[in-house]
């Protein structure tokens, strides 16, 4: 990993306590937890996109919210400009938020239905006291709309979310996220709710904005095609752990972890002539309340070994920045 890093995530953990029924909480003392995010670390460089892939239950969505501290972690740190975000409080925390923003999956839900577009985008400015006069703020809002390619901006200022299409709404969310010119953006499934012909528009917009403004992204998605399209580096999560991390092309063309291989192979391709045999994995992701012992993937792994059932493999750097957590690649077991 090179380049000045924008954020450094270290040993991030998030457990959610599971509320049990009254009787079981009386009779059993053990507290059950959902191991949503279980000790992950990574770095994202300036103006770089890290794609975080995985299925539902993998913990990627929780990771996105943890990194910008929308929810508090159970333990671990996120270093930004040398400071640990998780240790900040009060006004320091609030001013940190200027630099980090998030775009959510459902553009309609992310907008207050009772507020005009102008009010929505102006709000971050008002919260952080940016802009010394109303006309200055209006100019900043218009600029943000133009960045998001909603032109002419005046036409959109006083509309309400329900008057816009899905693609337009997501652009409003992007404009809102960018109005403070943050250095880092978490994009949580930003195109999954949109029509296919609109997805490409938004993905291209994100790439363009990165080139123009130098924003770094954490791009979270289960759609591997879009992950490859926008990311320079890719990490895949399984049951709260990162099992593989590599540069984008290396990740997809030279996948090492059995899960990654299965995942990449399972993605349908728009080409009827290549009806390959997809390594369809059996079974489904187990419950994150009680993850399997040892390597979490071992019950479904087609290449499982004895050691996998007992010990958890660590993320090992195999060179060229390609990390895998699998005993198949640990020299001791070879």
């Amino acid at each position: 990993m090179s380049g000045d890093s924008l954020i450094k995530v270290k040993n991030l953990k998030k457990y959610f306590p599971v509320s049990k029924g009254f009787l079981s909480s009386v009779f059993s003392k053990k507290q059950l937890n959902v191991h949503a995010v279980d000790d992950i670390s990574f770095e994202i460089g300036k103006s770089e996109t890290l794609g975080l892939a995985g299925e539902s239950g993998s913990g990627k969505t929780t990771t996105g919210r943890l990194v910008i501290r929308l929810i508090d972690p159970t333990s671990g740190s996120v270093f930004v400009q040398g400071k640990d975000v998780m240790a900040l409080k009060g006004t320091e925390l609030k001013s940190m938020r200027r630099n980090f923003q998030i775009i959510f999956q459902d553009p309609y839900e992310s907008l207050n239905p009772g507020m005009t577009i102008f009010d929505t985008i102006e709000e971050p400015l008002a919260i952080h006291g940016v802009g010394s006069s109303p006309s200055e703020r209006q100019a900043m809002v218009k600029e943000a709309l133009e960045l998001a390619q909603l032109v002419p901006a005046e036409q959109f200022l006083y509309r309400y979310p329900h008057e816009l299409s899905g693609g337009q709404r997501q652009r409003v969310c992007i404009a809102r996220a960018l109005v403070l010119r943050p250095e880092f953006l978490v994009a949580d499934e930003p195109v999954s709710s949109l029509d296919v012909s609109i997805r490409a528009q938004i993905l291209n917009l994100l790439k363009e904005l990165q080139a123009r403004l130098g924003v770094g992204y954490l791009y979270i998605s289960h759609d591997l095609g879009s992950v490859r399209y926008v990311s320079q580096k890719v990490a895949v999560m399984y049951l709260g752990k990162i099992v593989e991390f590599a540069e984008s092309n290396e990740f997809f063309e030279n996948s090492l972890h059995p899960y990654t291989k299965a995942l990449v192979a399972a993605v349908p391709v728009p080409d009827p002539s290549t009806r390959k045999v997809r390594v369809a994995l059996a079974g489904e992701i187990p419950s994150p309340i009680n993850p399997p012992p040892g390597c979490r993937f071992h019950p479904r792994c087609p290449q499982v070994m004895n050691i996998c059932k007992e010990k958890e493999p660590a993320l090992k750097d195999l060179g060229k920045g390609h990390l895998v957590a699998c005993f198949l690649y640990h020299s001791e077991t070879k």
């Binding site: 910008i68 929308l70 609030k94 938020r97 200027r98 923003q101 998030i102 959510f104 459902d106 309609y108 839900e109 992310s110 907008l111 207050n112 239905p113 009772g114 507020m115 005009t116 102008f118 709000e123 971050p124 919260i127 952080h128 109303p134 209006q138 200022l157 006083y158 509309r159 309400y160 329900h162 969310c173 809102r176």
Partner: protein, 498 residues
């Protein structure tokens, strides 16, 4: 530029809301009714000329509405009678309506154009004169002025005769004035008489007032202190006459004798048994006025009390819903405690202690009505709390207060309006109930007070006194409920999804 566009955006939103609201039939009916009642409330002074409480004795007590004369038993019911058109006698014309006569050439009844009751701007009066030089005496002389009128109805509930007189009597004459009513059969009934003596400089009026309900008149005419003088005299329709008769006993010829009696502002009034659009109450005040003015009160009380409830409930609901945790627990326990207390008995006790003024009523009804609203708003807030745009606001750095008042409140506002509409009927009915129980403000003409008085004065056959205020209360309540339901229907789906 932005101000105008902002308003334009809001106008657009309102137009959308209105377009949807218009389609809701019940909502439109409700709105129409509310507009009707508002017109009633605002236009009260124009719709009815009487002050609802202070204009008493407009007609008989507990008179029936005029339209009741279409029903059997009421066809001949008496209307108000005021036969003497110009009691102040300001013109000779007015005087010419009286038929004058006298039994002696020395006596005459003339029109005195320049003498009049000083309290009355217009001059003019009837003058009964008798004058003779010393030497001859005339014995008994009678002169009278007669005013005839017809009555086509049954006997009035009550009649009064007012007049002012000023006498100048020489010492050797004895004069007496009689007020007599001659009925259609020719029978004469003396309702008042007075011995005139000396000279009086001031105008006087009969004391006690000539009133068919006074014990004097009753006894005089029926020998029964509770008898009906009206029915005795006005037994059937026909021509009646009011006779002002002056008798003079002139027996002392030793000196000049003069009698001069001026009578002015003669006013004979019959109080009808039917009056107005809704009849009268116990005191003869117009019930229709009370009904119309009652609209003002009901609307004001209903809306103000309801507003108070909604404001308290919304703030509570917002805080409990969004802040959660201990705040939620404490606020909701408090809310539930008040919810459990029996409303009306509590109100009764509080009103009895604090006094039944209208403001106490509004405040108490308002303060004791917030509980359900708080719960409803809290639920709405809870469902909004998890929505992504709240998360987005937090991600942008918004604090709790900002989220509650800039994000949650506007979205909850429409629900609050619907709740406002729905709680107005409760407030109106509570006020009516309290008034009916006698704990209302007696100085304020509300529909509840009308019902209270009806009940208090033992109304049996005057059904209109009860039915119409009751219907008004019912219709205003229905109107607000329709509007509230319509608003609910229109606003809720829009908030969820489009």
């Amino acid at each position: 530029m932005s101000r105008r566009e902002k308003t334009q955006a809001q106008v657009r939103r309102f137009k959308e809301f209105w377009g949807q609201y218009r389609r809701n039939k019940l909502g439109m009916i409700g709105l129409g009714l509310i507009i009707l009642f508002s017109i009633m409330a605002i236009g009260a002074p124009f719709i009815t000329p009487y002050d609802p409480l202070k204009s008493t004795n407009l007609a008989g007590s507990k008179a029936a509405p005029i339209w009741m004369t279409a029903f059997p038993g009421y066809e001949q019911a008496s209307r108000n009678m005021d036969p003497i058109n110009d009691p102040s006698l300001s013109t000779k014309e007015a005087f010419s309506k009286w038929q004058v006569s006298s039994t002696s050439p020395a006596a005459s009844v003339v029109y005195a154009g320049d003498v009049g009751n000083p309290e009355d701007v217009k001059q003019g009066s009837i003058a009964f004169q008798f004058s003779r030089p010393a030497g001859t005496s005339y014995g008994n002389v009678v002169e009278q002025a007669v005013f005839s009128f017809t009555s086509t109805y049954d006997a009035p509930q009550r009649f009064t005769l007012d007049l002012y007189y000023r006498a100048e009597v020489s010492e050797n004459a004895i004069a007496k004035i009689f007020a007599v009513i001659q009925n259609s059969n020719g029978t004469e009934y003396i309702i008042w008489d007075k011995r005139l003596q000396d000279t009086a400089e001031e105008w006087q009026k009969p004391s006690p007032r000539i009133d068919s309900w006074s014990p004097q008149v009753r006894l005089r005419l029926t020998q029964d202190i509770l008898g009906s003088a009206e029915r005795k005299i006005f037994s059937s329709p026909g021509t009646y006459s009011l006779i002002l008769r002056v008798t003079i006993s002139d027996n002392d010829a030793s000196s000049d004798a003069t009698v001069r009696l001026y009578v002015d502002d003669v006013n004979l009034r019959g109080y009808g048994a039917v009056f107005g659009y809704l009849g009268t109450d116990q005191f003869g005040a117009d019930l229709f006025s009370q009904l119309i003015y009652g609209a003002r009160l009901s609307l004001i009380i209903g809306i103000l009390a309801s507003l108070l409830s909604v404001v308290i409930g919304t703030v509570l609901g917002l805080a409990a819903g969004y802040l959660g945790g201990a705040t939620d627990e404490v606020l909701m326990r408090f809310n539930d405690m008040l919810l459990v207390l029996p409303g009306l008995p509590l109100l009764l006790v509080l009103i009895a202690v604090l006094g039944p003024s209208i403001w106490n009523l509004v405040i108490l009804i308002g303060v004791l009505g917030f509980m359900t609203i708080a719960r409803v708003i809290r639920s709405q807030v809870l469902s909004y709390k998890e929505r992504t745009f709240i998360e987005a606001a937090r991600a942008a750095g918004a604090g709790s207060r900002r989220i509650m008042f800039k994000h949650l409140l506007p979205n909850v506002m429409s629900l609050a309006f619907a709740q406002l509409a729905l709680s107005v009927p409760a407030a109106i009915v509570t006020e009516a109930a309290l008034s009916w129980l006698g704990l209302g403000d007696p100085t304020v003409p509300t529909w509840g007070r009308m019902l209270y008085l009806a009940h208090y004065y033992g109304v049996l056959k005057e059904w209109w006194w009860i039915v119409f205020p009751g219907l008004c209360i019912a219709f205003v309540s229905i109107a607000f409920i329709f509007v509230g339901y319509a608003m609910d229907e229109v606003l809720n789906p829009k908030l969820r999804r489009r």
